[in-house]
Amino acid sequence: MMVTDSVMDVHQVYQDNKSTLAMVPTGGGKPRTKYMKVREEFVKERLETWEVVLEYISTKQMLADLMTKPLGGELYHTLTHRRLGGHQYACLNNRGAKGEQVSCVSELASVSSLVPVLAD
């Protein structure tokens, strides 16, 4: 890899909660404690300076979903393979938790299709 003084794209942050997305940029909502208000203002400030850009993503593509609750089955494997880089389809051996065929394996061949399309 050639390391040059390259300019990176904007830092995209994905969220799967529409009410947070609606609340934060406008500074709306009713934060009833100082602690929540401070947090909201902090994120709002980051958005105003374009350090981060917030965007919605569906829960099925949300990679962080795995670490908030114990998932299982197809969704677990789709997300895990994307996180690990998606080079281990062979190890999965087409077996499901109870021996059934896992359909996500064939879909995983096109990992790029899971990457959300970025807005211009």
């Binding site: 890899m1 050639m2 390391v3 040059t4 003084d5 390259s6 300019v7 990176m8 794209d9 904007v10 830092h11 995209q12 942050v13 994905y14 969220q15 799967d16 909660n17 009410s19 947070t20 609340m23 909502g29 009833r32 929540m36 947090r39 909201e40 902090f42 994120v43 980051r46 300076t49 374009w50 350090e51 981060v52 917030l54 949300m62 990679l63 962080a64 979903d65 795995l66 670490m67 908030t68 609750k69 114990p70 299982g72 089955g73 677990y76 494997h77 895990t80 994307r82 996180r83 690990l84 880089g85 998606g86 080079h87 281990q88 190890c91 077996r95 499901g96 938790a97 990457v115 970025l118």
Partner: protein, 254 residues
């Protein structure tokens, strides 16, 4: 950088990783170090073992393999391990107060600490289970041991899995933030943040939230705030390597 040649040295505690475009560009570095420190051990090639990890060069980028480390952990548990495809069952966050406390905690501590290391390096898929088990080390119960066994059973099935670092799209940073509301015993939520550089995972955080909140929207906000702070910690390291962050053209800095 000189005449298109460059050498990058990365220092980590007492180890140095030296990289260059062509392999002959970096040969002058080792004699220089030997002059100064007399004895220098070095390894070179497409396969570097380091602290339980093996970093393998592939055509798409790099691969981080920790199979020997996983084998090491499984030795603790014995041979008759079943295999599962997911590291946790639905009751991962549930704590059974009536469950008996383990008499020998040492083994539990040792395996959990190993799992945490594994989770933070090559196998992020077990990080959530490892993080949860780490909160139970003071008084581990039989129920916690069952959860630990489940992770080991998952590891046995997936021990060949590796983390890979794809070279393509290395200029795009995306962060995924999610939270769940009131899953822990004390009513606190769980936040998770995944930072991807192109298609490879570079940084991830998963922890119990520090404050008690009222609803799931607030839970997401708490996670979001934490991740915005993480932006400086995690991404700042790339500044030193010649990368710099820009903003989309036409958007002025305010």
């Amino acid at each position: 950088m000189q005449n298109g040649k460059y050498v990058i040295a990365i220092l980590y505690v007492d180890d140095i990783l030296i990289m260059s475009g062509k392999s002959e560009d970096r040969y002058w570095v080792k004699p220089l170090l030997e002059d100064r420190y007399k004895k220098v051990t070095s390894e070179e090639g497409d396969r570097l073992p380091y602290l339980g990890m093996t970093i393998v060069k592939k055509d798409f980028g790099y691969e981080l393999c920790m199979q020997s480390y996983v084998d090491d952990i499984l030795k603790f548990y014995g041979k008759n391990v079943r295999e599962y495809m997911v590291p946790a069952t639905g009751n991962l966050f549930e704590v059974d107060g009536a469950s008996e406390v383990l008499s020998d905690k040492t083994k539990f501590h040792s395996v959990v600490a190993k799992l945490l290391y594994l989770g933070k390096r090559g196998r992020p898929d077990i990080l959530m289970s490892a993080q949860l088990l780490c909160t139970r080390v003071q008084a581990p119960t039989k129920q916690d041991m069952t959860k630990l066994k489940r992770v080991l059973e998952y590891l046995k099935f997936t021990k060949g899995w590796t983390g890979s670092f794809d070279r393509s799209e290395f200029d795009r940073v995306t962060t995924y933030i999610d939270a769940s509301f009131s899953v822990h015993l004390d009513g606190k939520g769980q936040s998770a943040c995944v930072v991807m550089l192109g298609n490879s995972l570079v940084h991830e955080v998963c922890h119990k939230q520090k404050i008690v909140i009222k609803n799931s929207t607030e839970a997401e906000l708490v996670a979001l705030r934490r991740a915005c702070r993480g932006y400086y910690n995690g991404i700042g390291t790339y500044d030193g390597n010649g990368f710099r962050y820009g903003r989309p053209s036409g958007i002025p800095r305010q």
